[in-house]
Amino acid sequence: MAVRLVQKPGPGASLVIRGARVLDPEAGIDEVRDLVVRDGVIGGDPDGLEVVDAGGMVALPGFVDPHVHLRTPGREDLEDIATGSLAGAAGGFVTIIAMPNTTPVVDNAAVLGTLLERGEQEAVIRVGFLAAITVGQKGQELTEQAEMAALGAAGFSDDGHPVSDARVMRRALQYQAITGLPLVLHEEDVKLSGRGVMHEGAVASRLGMEGIPSISESVAVARDAALAEYEDGWIHICHVSAMETVEEIRRAKARGIRITGEVTPHHLALTDEAVTSLDASRHKMNPPLREESDRQALIAALADGTLDCVATDHAPHDADEKEVPFEEAPFGITGLETAFAVCNTSLVAPGHMTLELLARRMSADPARALGLPVPTLADGAVADVALVDPAARVVVGQDGFRSRSRNSAWLGEELLGRVALTIAGGRIAWRT
C-alpha cells in the first residue's frame, strides 16, 4: 500500500539555475554553483537550456507541508485543489497533505477516490490526502481504513477535532498494523477548552475572553503518547502550541515512542499579545497563539528536533465569516504563501536557527514524519526545488494571493524572503 501523491501531468522543466547557493543538508550539498534541471530531473547537460539568473538566491529541496486545508469538497469558494496547490507552489512547497475535515468528510473510499482524481487534473504540485480516523470525524466508529489505505490515503486524521474517546484511539492505533499509515492527531481536551476563543492567560484576562488552556493540548498528548506506547503505534502531533506539550513529546521520544510533532509559522512568530488587535481574520486560530515562553519553547524544540517540522495548517476562510466580533469568528488563518518568509524572518534572521536547519524542518523532516518521499537536489532525482531569495523584502498580499482566501496574519506586513521559483515533481509550478 503506497501513499498516492497526485499532480496534473505536464512537461518536465528544463533550465539552469545559475549561481545560486545550492543547499541540500540531507545530501550534504552546500555550494554556490549552477543547478541543472533537464526534463524534470536534476543534473545532466546544461547546453541549450534556459538560464535563470539566481545570484544571491538559495536553491533548496522543495518544502513539504503535512497539514493544509483545501476546503474541497464542499467549500470550493474558499479553496480548491487548483488554488490551494498554486498557493503551495507560490510558497515553495512541492508536496502538501490535505486534511479530511471537508463537506462531506473524507471518511470513505468514494470521496477519497474523487479527490485523488481531481488532484490528478488540478494540482500543480504533489497533493496527498489524509482520510478521517472516525466516521464523520465524530470520534465514535473507525472509518474503513484498510480500504482507504489501499486507495492511497496519506494517513488518518480527525483534524479539527480530537479523538476524545480513548478506546476509539486505542483501536485506531491497533489498526495501524493493517494500514501502516500515521495517525495525525489534533490534540485537545474539548472539555478543558470549553468555549475558549484564545489562549488562557494574562491577555485573555485583560480582554475578558474565555481562554483555551495549554493543558487542554498537553493532557491529550500525554494520553495518546501512553496509548501509542502501549500499542506500539505511530502518531504525529498536529500544530503543537504549548510548552507543556513540547515536554510531553520530549518525554515520549525519550521513551522510544514513534511520535513526531509539527509547529506552525504563526505559533513560532506570534504570541497572544497579537490578539489585542481583536481582528479574528488575522489572529484567531486553534490552537491559539500562546505566550512568549511558549513561543521560545517551540523555537527551541524545533531547533533540537523535539518538534520535527513546520506545518502551515493553512486554513482559508471567507472574509465575511471572519468579519464578525472576534469571539464569533471561525478559527484559522492561511499560511502556504507566507510560511517560508515568516520562518525566515522570525527564526533565521534573528539567529534562532540557520537557513540550513530551517530547510530540513520544512522539507526532509515533514516528509519523514509522514513517511513521504524526501525531496533532494542530488543528481538523478526528480526535480523538487524551491529557489528562494532570503534577503528580499516582500509586503504580504501586495501582489494578491494565489489562495482564494486572504485571512493572513501578515496581510500588509513586510517579511524577509521571496520564493522565486518552485519546481515540483519535475514541473515548473511557480515562477515570479
Binding site: G201, A202, S205, R206, G208, M209, E323, V324, P325, E327
Partner: protein, 318 residues
Amino acid sequence: MTRRSLLTIGDLDRAEVARILRVGNRFAEVMTRDIKKVPTLRGRTIINMFFEASTRTSTSFELAGKRLSADVVNVKGSGSSVEKGETLKDTVITLNSYAPDVLVIRHASVGACAMAARYTDAAVISAGDGKHEHPTQTLLDLYTIEREVGPLDGLHIAFVGDVAHSRVARSGIRGFQMMGARVSLIAPPTLLPRDAGAALGVETSTDVRDVTDADVVYVLRMQLERMGPGGFVPSLREYAMTYGINHGRLRPGQRVMHAGPINRGVEISGELADDPTTLIERQAANGMVVRMAVLYDLLAGPSGSPEPAGAPIGAVAV
C-alpha cells in the same frame, strides 16, 4: 474623518477622565433645574444599537442624548436585521450611510465595538462588549465615588465576586487605577481569571474576609447567563454563604457599590441592597449625567483641550 471613539476606558487618559467628570458635575447642576434639556447637541444624530438587553444602560444613553437635544434612534437586537441573518458589519455599514454622529453599541461578544468602529465614520461608544469592557459604567462609578466618597487617589476599592465574567470589573480596574486608586479582587478561585493578579496589576484573594481592608466594596453580579453548564460554583446557596456581602461582612464606614441588576440574596443581601448608605442608587442616577458628559466630550468638546469655561453647555435651557 473617523471620530474619536470610546471603546475601552484605556482610550482616555487621566486628564480626559477628569475633564469628563467635571463636565458631568455641570450637567448634574442642569438636571436640578425645572427644564432639564439643553441645546448642546441639537442637530446631532445618535444611534443606540443594543444587541443585548439592558434597560438601564439603554435608557440612560437615550435620555442623555435627548436632554442634549440630539436626535436619538434606538435599534434593538431582537426583531432587528440581525435576526434576519444580516451581520453586524452589514448593519453598521447601513446605519453609517445615514451619517450618524455617534453609534452607541452594546453587544454580547468581545470585539464587536472594535469591529463596528472599522466600518463607520461615527464615534463609537461601547456600552459593553461581552466580558471585555464597559467604559461609561466605569466613568459613572468614578463620578459616584468622587462625589460620595472622595478623591480616588489612595482609595482602596475591592471587587468581590464574579470577576471572570465581569466587564464592569475589567473596565473598573483600569479606570480606578488610572485615577490613583488601589484595586483588589476577592473571588472564588473558579471565578478569578488565570493570572489575574499579574495580568491586571491587582492583589487577589479568595477570602471574603479581606473585604474589610477596602474603602469601597464593589459587589459584582453573579452572571449566571454567561456561565453556561459546568458549574463555576457548586450552588448559589453556597455562593451566598461563602461570598455574599451583607452587613455582617462589612466594617462600619465601608461604602458598597453594585452596577445592577442585583441578584438579591445571592451576591448581596436584600437588606444591604436597600440600605441608603450604599451607593447603588446613586450609581444609577449618575449614569445619565456622565453619559451626557461623554457625548458632549466626543461631539462638542474640543478633544484634548479643557472644557469651555462657563457658557455653552448648561447655560441655555430650551
